[in-house]
């Protein structure tokens, strides 16, 4: 407990607010998944997993590299499950077919997470550089699937635009736009090695600092976008699920 309190006091307030907001969004979306159809289960479970992925900031054992990498795996699984949900919804809009059971979504997600855990367990403890690689892969998948989800959401909206629920898909569009900015900005920094992790790594390894000083403007903008888009993403997810809940009540 003392360790946790110490960790909380060390955390950046902004990061803490972000985690709390993702916690709320995750709780709302997970609650939503329980009483609704399978496609909503995938989508809402995925958003709940984002919270788990983001919770490393308040995880007292986050200094463990293995556990830190597992948070990245959870984050990756989150976007895959969400995309699966939107894909199913899109298929439903085109064919009106609904298949499968909710339990399969829970079990499949759990299985992937267990497999991810096993992968980390049987391999050497990740180094800071490996953790950074995990983050790059996670962000790349998030950016790619966010774009794909935006397109799916656009097509779903066109198919059901006179239905009562259609406005919720506009909200989801906003969510994925913000997520794209959030994850995209971080990926941008990582690709050009302007991220904090790389700076720390290089400082430890050879004391050299990358060419970040030459691009302070774009680096600062990217960091700002990453910071606020992440926060707004969590807010928009929570708000979207509350709106969706009201529409479907």
């Amino acid at each position: 407990m003392e360790q946790f309190i110490e960790l909380i006091t060390r955390i950046n307030t902004f990061d803490l607010i972000g985690v709390i907001l993702w916690g709320l969004a995750g709780a709302i979306s997970f609650n939503f998944s329980i009483g609704n159809a399978r496609v909503w289960t995938s989508i809402s479970l995925g958003f709940f997993l984002i919270f788990i992925g983001q919770a490393y900031a308040i995880n007292p054992w986050a200094h463990d590299y293995g556990l830190s990498a597992f948070h990245n795996i959870v984050g990756t699984v989150a976007i895959v499950v969400i995309t699966h949900g939107f894909l199913e919804y899109y298929v439903f809009c085109r064919t009106f077919e609904i298949s499968g059971k909710k339990i399969a979504v829970y079990l499949f997600s759990l299985l992937i997470l267990v497999a991810g855990g096993m992968f980390l367990y049987i391999n050497p403890t990740p180094s800071p550089n490996t953790i950074r690689n995990f983050k790059i892969v996670e962000n790349a998948i998030w950016v790619f699937l966010s774009i794909m989800n935006l397109e799916l959401i656009r097509k779903i909206y066109i198919a059901i635009k006179d239905s009562p629920i259609s406005k919720a898909f506009i909200a989801f569009g906003i969510v994925f736009f913000l997520i794209f900015l959030w994850k995209g900005s971080e990926l941008y920094l990582q690709i050009f090695q302007w991220d904090r992790d790389w700076q720390d790594i290089t400082a430890v390894m050879n004391g050299k600092v990358p060419d970040i000083g030459n691009f302070t403007g774009r680096v600062n903008i990217s960091m700002l976008v990453n910071k606020y888009a992440g926060l707004l993403s969590s807010l928009s997810v929570g708000g979207t699920f509350i709106y969706l809940y009201r529409l479907l009540k």
Partner: protein
């Protein structure tokens, strides 16, 4: 229509619909019957004349005066008996002589037909019969009574009235009928009894075959009519189901949006087409499918209202059917 005096009744007013002509003829023939059987329908009368069990003559007359005799008359009788539900059979016993006279009458020629008695000079007519030494028959009748006067070589041979079995000598009944309002006469010329063909129609006409053909034709007509009716019913049902399908679609589209039309079409296809709406089990499955899909698009409250309306619409359509 042609009405003979009644003779001695053996059967009267038997419902023709219950009878089979081959059986009737077979019974009369086996009983060596002498007399006539009169089949009275709404628009025609058929008379079969028997002499000692032989079918010596047959005559059919329609309301419009069209006459058929012999094979044609028997054939027409078969088709009428099979085809019409009404009609009655009267069988009257007559003497051989009277039967011969009637047989001769059916083979004779019509000289005057349905002449109003009050419009003709009956004395002149009777005189002409005597002068011409006619062989023939003068029939005096109203709508429900009839009498006949037979002539041989211009001289009255005798009378045939209702209730008589043989040729009578009294003219009272004929005079009574002649005095009735609306009385009419027919005058027939006949051949001499010796020149009449003594043919038994039963030997030349296969009544069983004609009857079976008539029955088969009637059956085929009934099948055709039933088929046409079934097709009409099917078309009516198909139109009603199509109408119900449109109603169901409009209810779903109204709540769910345009996408609802596709949902209904898909669920109907899954249940084997729109006929499932009238099937209790399949319609339940159809509604469950609609509910499952609509759940992804509308609120629980709207869903409940929509499902109630759909269920009510489909149930009432099923009851109406």
């Amino acid at each position: 229509m042609f009405l003979l005096p009644k003779g001695i009744p053996l059967f009267e007013n038997l419902a023709v619909g219950m009878l089979k002509l081959p059986e009737v003829i077979s019974k009369l023939s086996a009983g060596s019957f002498t007399g006539y059987a009169s089949f009275v329908f709404q628009d025609s009368t058929v008379i079969l004349v028997f002499e000692a069990g032989k079918l010596v003559s047959a005559m059919s007359e329609e309301q419009n005066g069209n006459r058929q005799t012999g094979f044609e008359a028997v054939s027409a009788l078969c088709y009428r008996m099979v085809g019409k539900s009404g009609g009655s059979l009267n069988v009257y016993k007559l003497s051989k002589d009277l039967t011969t006279c009637i047989h001769a009458l059916f083979q004779g020629e019509i000289l005057y037909k349905a002449q109003e008695l009050k419009l003709i000079d009956i004395k002149s007519l009777l005189k002409k019969i005597g002068t011409d030494r006619m062989n023939g028959c003068l029939r005096i009748y109203t709508d429900d009574r009839s009498a006949m006067i037979f002539y041989k070589d211009g001289s009255p041979l005798g009378f045939f009235h209702d209730g008589s079995q043989d040729i009578e000598t009294s003219a009272n009944e004929s005079q009574k009928i002649a005095g009735l309002p609306g009385a009419k006469i027919d005058l027939f010329s006949t051949h001499e009894a010796g020149r009449l063909m003594g043919l038994d129609l039963l030997e030349v006409v296969n009544i069983q075959n004609i009857w079976e053909t008539a029955v088969a034709q009637k059956r085929s007509e009934i099948i055709k009519i039933n088929k046409a009716r079934e097709e009409r019913q099917k078309e009516n049902i198909a139109a009603k189901i199509a109408e119900l399908e449109e109603t169901v679609k409009s209810i779903v589209v109204n709540k769910v949006g345009k996408v609802g039309r596709g949902i209904v079409e898909k669920e109907l296809a899954d249940q084997g087409g729109n006929a499932c709406l009238l099937d209790e089990t399949k319609s339940v499955k159809f509604l469950a499918g609609i509910e499952r899909s609509a759940k992804l698009l509308i609120s629980a409250t709207s869903l409940k209202a929509m499902m109630e309306l759909l269920s009510k619409t489909i149930t009432s359509a099923r009851i109406e059917r």
